[in-house]
């Protein structure tokens, strides 16, 4: 439709969304300020270039879908809890994660910064000092309550961190020798490798195992390295083996005075507890990260070997999947509850 008509429609939807509940209060403020920016544009016909209004309308439609998927009823709370901690470790606590639940099977990061657009293109809108970078990630709806299957989100978060700090661009300046084959896009190769390593630093091999499940034997393309090549790099990283591609990212991170890529997760084994249909109790957030890898291995080992330690009389893969994902989700949720409880109980 026409941009200004769409802006009206989006503003109405956002007002309705603002009546919903978000776990993150900052998202409410973002919604209200975003409505304010839309109303500001609508109140001044002809003030802004058509191109700005068109781009703003596109941006608003995108933002709407991510805010819709971030209400209490929709957001994959447990995974977002972990991603939020990951952002903090990369000095990006000021950013809020918003999720769009998609009907396809792909995870994605929307490389947009809505607030930056408002600041630069609608500069006379007075946001009264409000600022909020948002991480706009897409989650397939069928996986919203399947934390094990959400491990690709750590890869997507790696893209956000990369875009925020321009890690791969800096790496290309410091180490210009291409890592992609001739004729292929070297920068996107670096971006994919960096995001793979970022994901693996939090959730171990499950991050690349997810890729192997989604795109097994995928050959190299113009923009993406082959799955086997990506897996080999992650395996080298996890094994602590020296690798020139890892080194060039570490050099860039050091030059940017950022944390280096290191294993954040602690190895755990959920089998003893999950075999008895009990939650796993992580003693630290590092163990929460470690759960993803352990639960991934546990689930697919049970499916591949048709295991039934739970003595289910009706052992179907779908029942096994639901049981293991639910135990993982509840284990993370309980960790978050304990953290929040102890923080509240010890505060004055």
């Amino acid at each position: 439709m026409r941009p200004r008509v769409d802006l009206h429609l989006v503003a109405n939807t956002l007002r309705a969304l603002d009546d919903s509940a978000y776990f993150d209060e900052r998202v409410h403020k973002f919604t209200r300020h975003f409505i304010g920016a839309i109303e500001h544009v609508l109140a001044s016909p002809g003030k802004y270039d058509d191109a700005i209004e068109t781009n703003f309308a596109y941006l608003c439609r995108a933002v709407q879908s991510y805010l819709s998927g971030s209400t209490n009823n929709e957001i994959p709370f447990e995974v977002v809890f972990c991603l939020t901690d990951a952002l903090r470790r990369w000095r990006l606590s000021d950013a809020a994660i918003v999720t769009s639940l998609t009907e396809d099977h792909n995870f994605h990061l929307k490389p947009l910064d809505p607030w930056k657009f408002i600041e630069t293109s609608i500069a006379d809108y007075d946001a009264e000092g409000f600022q909020l970078p948002v991480v706009m990630i897409g989650v397939p709806r069928i996986y919203a309550h399947k934390p094990i299957f959400c491990v690709p989100l750590f890869h997507e978060l790696g893209h956000f961190v990369d875009l925020k700090y321009r890690v791969t661009q800096v790496s290309a300046i410091l180490n210009p020798t291409p890592i992609a084959p001739a004729g292929f896009d070297d920068l996107t190769y670096r971006m994919e490798h960096f995001a793979d390593l970022f994901g693996a630093s939090f959730v171990g091999r499950s991050s690349i195992a997810a890729l192997e499940a989604i795109a097994p034997n995928a050959p190299a393309s113009i923009t993406h390295p082959a799955t086997a090549e990506r897996a080999a790099l992650v395996d080298a990283f996890l094994a602590g083996t020296a690798h020139p591609t890892i080194d060039l990212f570490q050099n860039a991170l050091a030059a940017l005075s950022l944390p280096t890529l290191t294993k954040v997760f602690d190895l755990v084994d959920v089998a003893h507890d999950f075999n008895d249909v009990r939650t796993f109790v992580p003693s630290s957030i590092e163990q929460v990260y470690g759960m993803y890898d352990s639960a991934w291995a546990y689930l697919f080992n049970a499916i591949d070997k048709r295991l039934n330690p739970w003595q289910l009389s009706d052992r179907r893969d779908g029942i096994v999947e639901a049981l293991v994902n639910d135990l993982t989700e509840k284990s993370i949720r309980n960790f978050a509850i304990r953290e929040a409880w102890h923080a509240a109980a010890s505060s004055p």
Partner: protein, 199 residues
């Protein structure tokens, strides 16, 4: 069927054997009372809706039971309003594992019974999952519940013989549930037989 007392409940909470009583998270040790364990209200709800259908039917041509409920979530510490006459399916905040020689009666704590919130359900030995809470407000006034508050208590009874939950011939319907699920009464096998009798 002796009622477990505080010292036995605490002892079983520390075990790692099959006699273990498992409660995660047990946010406060004071949840263990003299003859019961207080359990907290979980964050997920299925709220009953009024529909055009005259009744919830369990026949083969029924409208699905889940269509009579709407899911909603709260954070711990947030409020949930329970309206008079409304049934709301929730769960305990805690994930519970009962030993094979213990079953539990779940009842509303006195403080909430006095507000009109009633609940009385039995949990099988060897149960695993969040305790299902079928909340009904019998008073004239809406009641504000806080997610994470101690709404119900479990009275635990030991049995002479172990009673496995998972390994029985008939698969248990609600094993390992971490959020409320609607009734699966329509899956009861004897309904088919009864259907032939009823014509």
């Amino acid at each position: 069927m002796p009622l477990l007392q505080a010292h036995e409940i605490r002892r079983r909470l520390t075990l790692t054997s099959q006699q273990r009583l498992y409660i995660d998270p047990l946010l406060e040790t004071t949840q263990v009372g003299e003859v019961s364990v207080d359990l907290r209200l979980g964050p997920d709800f299925l709220v009953s809706l009024l529909t055009r259908k005259p009744a919830v039917e369990l026949s083969a041509t029924r409208r699905g039971v889940s269509s009579y409920f709407r899911a909603t979530r709260r954070d711990v510490g947030q409020k949930f309003i329970l309206y008079p006459g409304q049934i709301v399916l929730a769960t305990s905040l805690e994930y519970v594992g009962l030993p094979a020689d213990v079953y539990a009666d779940i009842i509303t704590r006195s403080s909430y019974s006095r507000l009109g919130v009633q609940l009385n359900t039995m949990i099988q030995p060897s149960f695993r999952g969040c305790i299902p809470l079928e909340l009904v407000n019998h008073s004239n006034n809406p009641v504000e519940l806080v997610v994470g508050s101690r709404v119900v208590q479990a009275r635990l009874f030991s049995l002479d013989k172990k009673s496995p939950y998972q390994g029985t011939a008939v698969n248990r319907k609600y094993l390992g549930n971490v959020r409320p699920v609607v009734s699966r009464a329509q899956d009861d096998a004897d309904l088919a037989t009864l259907g032939k009798l009823g014509g």
